[in-house]
């Protein structure tokens, strides 16, 4: 199936381009080296949200950061979405429209269009959400000013209902005051500054941003629309075309993997509106901190999603371990374990043992023997560990199992000593 491209190639409206300054001097002026503000790609994936998609497109058009492109994708809607989309794009050259003839699910559609993105940063916009005009400026400014560059930034939001009534002033996910997080931005004097972010806003941002280390477990981000990724990271974790992608959400794949690979940052400022309209797949009501706002079917779906994530990570062990230097951290993250109590049931379940056995040879290539054996020993114990080690039965199995048993008992001894 080939996506049909409508609309013309990307177009730059040079007059309205956001300017970057460094130490007060315009970076885009020829004398300063012709550095331009980055192009940001919006990917708007719509499925049967004719009622809301128009407002989403308009909110992208109204960004005060003008250097954008927007790929609008219709994921085989059966309502009047297509005509709504066309009427809202009109002849804005920054927008292009792709129509799929078959619904690929959100993740499938995301994966398919990653190669069509020209921008250096990308936002996947849900068709029922809204962006505030400073969304793009703020995210780009934070990406350029954080002490450590991260895979993506996640901002706060207001929750609204079907007709736009405000329900909450914030999401319950974003908590910048957590002690492990690193707060703040680099000093304004030494970072590239966007002309659309004034000093006051920069100072406010400085107090409301936090970087999360890649080893932090748990969910700390808002969903979908409110995240801006580096396009390079998204392209790196793009799923191989041979891999069958079930119909599922993009967030549960992109966010945990991007974070585990290359960290993330939070912006505790409201930059978008998240709509709760009664037909959301997960969410049944606005978020109140101590009450879940999704139903019990969530668990099974979540487990299936993260099982697939784990398979993708294991199948790319060699590459991902080289890049991130810490394959076991990626594996921990994909296990979606919040505390040590959950570790045992996860690693003793048959599908997980089978999965590790299937990719044992890749893991062995990726890791040094001591990392490999001790990682397996800590998670799977003696018996299931041996099963995984020996599943790659081609070469010297006795030697391998002996060394595994040795590592296992050394681990136990050191554990007892502790």
């Amino acid at each position: 199936m080939m996506p049909q491209m409508k609309g013309s190639q990307r177009h730059m409206d040079t007059a309205a381009m956001p300017r970057l300054t460094l130490g007060g001097k315009d970076l885009s002026a020829p004398s300063a080296g012709c550095v331009t503000a980055p192009l940001v790609s919006f990917v708007l994936i719509n499925f049967n949200y004719a009622e809301f998609v128009g407002a989403a497109i308009e909110s992208i058009k109204h960004q005060d950061y003008r250097h954008i492109e927007c790929l609008v994708i219709d994921n085989a809607s059966t309502d009047s979405s297509v005509s709504v989309i066309e009427s809202h794009i009109k002849d804005d050259k920054r927008f292009s429209f792709i129509q799929f003839s078959e619904n690929l699910g959100q993740l499938g559609a995301t994966n398919k269009v990653i190669d069509c993105i020209n921008g250096s940063f990308v936002v996947f916009v849900d068709a029922d959400d809204l962006l505030l005009p400073s969304f793009c400026s703020t995210h780009v400014q934070v990406h350029l000013a954080l002490a450590e560059s991260v895979a993506f930034t996640s901002s706060n939001l207001v929750e609204i209902n079907k007709t736009g009534d405000v329900l909450t002033g914030k999401s319950s996910c974003i908590k910048t005051d957590t002690p492990e997080f690193v707060k703040g931005l680099r000093p304004a004097a030494i970072t590239p500054r966007l002309s659309t972010i004034d000093v006051e806003t920069y100072n406010l941002l400085n107090g409301r941003c936090a970087t999360i280390a890649s080893t932090c477990l748990g969910w700390h981000w808002t969903y979908g629309t409110s995240n801006m990724y580096r396009a390079s990271i998204i392209k790196l974790i793009r799923i191989n075309d041979q891999f069958p992608i079930p119909k599922r959400f993009a967030d549960n794949y992109l966010i945990p993997l991007a974070h585990a690979m290359a960290k993330s940052a939070l912006i505790d400022l409201t930059l978008s509106a998240y709509r709760i309209h009664g037909n959301n797949i997960w969410v049944q009501r606005e978020s109140v901190n101590s009450l879940k706002n999704y139903g019990p079917d969530y668990d099974a779906k979540q487990i299936a999603d993260f099982h697939m994530n784990q398979e993708i990570v294991l199948s790319r062990s060699v590459e991902l371990n080289w890049l991130s230097r810490n394959l076991w951290n990626l594996i921990n993250r994909m296990a979606d374990i919040q505390n040590s109590d959950e570790q045992k049931p996860y690693y003793s379940s048959t599908p997980i043992i089978d999965l590790f056995a299937k990719y044992a040879s890749q893991m062995q290539q990726a890791l040094s023997p001591s990392e490999y054996y001790s990682g397996i020993a800590m998670r799977f114990g003696l018996w299931n560990g041996l099963k995984i080690i020996l599943s790659d039965y081609k070469s010297c199995s006795i030697f391998k199992s002996l060394s595994f048993v040795l590592v296992y008992f050394i681990k136990i001894r050191s554990h007892i000593r502790c």
Partner: protein, 437 residues
């Protein structure tokens, strides 16, 4: 204004009601960082519609003033549904004359009295707002009531099920008796005090900077772990409609004959937390015929009678049935079902509590819903929870009712857990031995 009597409460909707029309000119504005949020979002983000539900039973003397006090709200974007709960006085004509031509108001007349909670249960299915206030028809709201509550909901450090503001107590003719309600407090150590910074929250145009600062100093989120009543009564609370709809009592249950606040506020708090605003935003009238209060609140004196307490015990049982019947859902949503159960017994001392779990109606209730309880949580939590509360023999009765197939196995399991627990508690009770230096 529309007017309609209905015969069968559960069937006839009030569809002759016109859409609530607020004078668009004075609708308050929400600002984010000083900019109009509605303009920023090209009209996509708006101030929420607030629903007032005013249930009236024979308060013709007071309801006119109550309606006027709602009309005078500086937050004009509201609808008000007045439910006449089978009054036998001239309430209806008073209501009609006070509503006048205001399109935001509508009136429904029930031909029999459903009780306050019954009328509210019915009304909840007919409101359109995102936030709701259940107004008692003998109380008065101050003009900033609605603005203050909405601002708190949008600015609290954690989103909560409802906000409760302070009151002043007045008598029949309006004389002020007290300046506050005795239960409201914000200085308790585990409360989360304050609002989020003004620069990052949606700000209402009807709340100026000074007022926001004052609110910030006098507001607190009450954590779930806080037990006991720490709010003002009825009128002074604004709920999230989504939570009220979640907790609304479906037709399969008997509606407890109790006040709406004692059902909704306790349930909403134990599942989704609440917050207090220690600023007086309404007047609570003590006029001699109140259902609950006999006199104004004085911190160290009970103001309700013994018959009220007896009735409450019965009502608590009906509420408990609702919790047990929905145990799977509630444990999924909020976790820690045993805490919810314990909280809704509304018993705060250990001896009364053990008496409670030994009474036959309570045991029967748990036996009836044993299966659902056991499905709602892992086995070890279920067994441990039952063993602490019901002891060995009563506990076994509940356990054996929970699963017909594995009765004997479950009972054995239970017994072993019970003895483990008792051994542990004996062990713990032993005073710690002093270490020799």
């Amino acid at each position: 204004m529309s007017f309609q009597s209905i015969d069968n409460i559960s069937i006839i909707p009030i569809n002759s009601q016109s859409e609530p029309e607020a004078a668009t000119a004075d609708i308050p504005i929400l600002r984010l960082g000083g900019k109009d949020l509605s303009e920023l979002s090209a009209g996509g983000v708006k101030v929420p519609l607030v629903s007032f539900v005013l249930v009236n039973f024979n308060y013709a003397d007071f309801i006119g003033e109550t309606i006027e006090s709602i009309k005078r709200q500086d937050y004009t974007h509201f609808e008000c549904l007045i439910v006449d709960n089978g009054s036998t006085d001239h309430s209806v004509s008073v209501v009609q004359s006070h509503i006048g031509e205001d399109k935001r108001f509508s009136l429904v007349q029930l031909n029999e009295n459903l009780g306050q909670l019954g009328a509210i249960v019915w009304a909840i299915d007919h409101i359109k707002g995102s936030f709701v206030v259940f107004v008692d028809s003998d109380d008065l709201l101050f003009p900033s009531f609605c603005s203050t509550h909405i601002q708190a909901h949008l600015a609290l450090p954690e989103s909560v099920a409802f906000t409760s503001s302070n009151v002043i107590e007045i008598n029949k003719v309006g004389d002020v008796l007290t300046g506050k309600y005795e239960r409201i407090k914000t200085e308790t150590p585990n409360f989360i005090k304050g609002l989020r910074p003004s620069s990052i929250v949606p700000r209402l145009s009807t709340i100026d900077d000074d007022t926001f600062e004052l609110m910030s100093q006098n507001s607190a989120v009450i954590p779930k772990s806080e037990w006991g009543w720490c709010w003002s009564p009825g009128t002074s609370n604004m709920f999230r409609v989504s939570i009220v709809k979640l907790l609304n009592i479906s037709k399969e249950f008997a509606i407890p004959n109790r006040s709406a606040d004692s059902y909704f506020m306790n349930m909403a708090h134990v599942l989704a937390q609440s917050a207090v605003i220690d600023m007086s935003q309404s007047a609570y009238r003590v006029h001699g015929q109140n259902y609950f209060a006999h006199r104004e609140s004085i911190n160290s004196l009970r103001k309700y009678g013994a018959d009220y307490a007896r009735q409450e015990k019965l009502n608590n049982l009906q509420t408990m049935e609702i919790i047990l019947a929905r145990s799977i859902e509630f444990n999924w949503l909020a976790g820690n079902l045993w805490n919810t159960i314990e909280y809704m017994t509304k018993i705060y001392n250990r001896n009364e509590m053990s008496e409670y779990y030994r009474s036959a109606p309570v045991i029967n209730l748990f036996v009836k819903y044993a299966e659902r309880l056991s499905q709602s949580m892992p086995n070890h939590e279920f067994y441990a929870g039952v063993s602490i509360r019901f002891g060995l023999s009563k506990g076994l009765k509940i356990i054996s009712a929970s699963d017909d197939k594995h009765k004997s196995l479950n009972c054995l399991n239970y017994i072993s857990i019970y003895f483990k627990k008792t051994c542990l508690s004996i062990f713990k009770k032993r005073p710690p031995q002093k270490q020799k230096k």
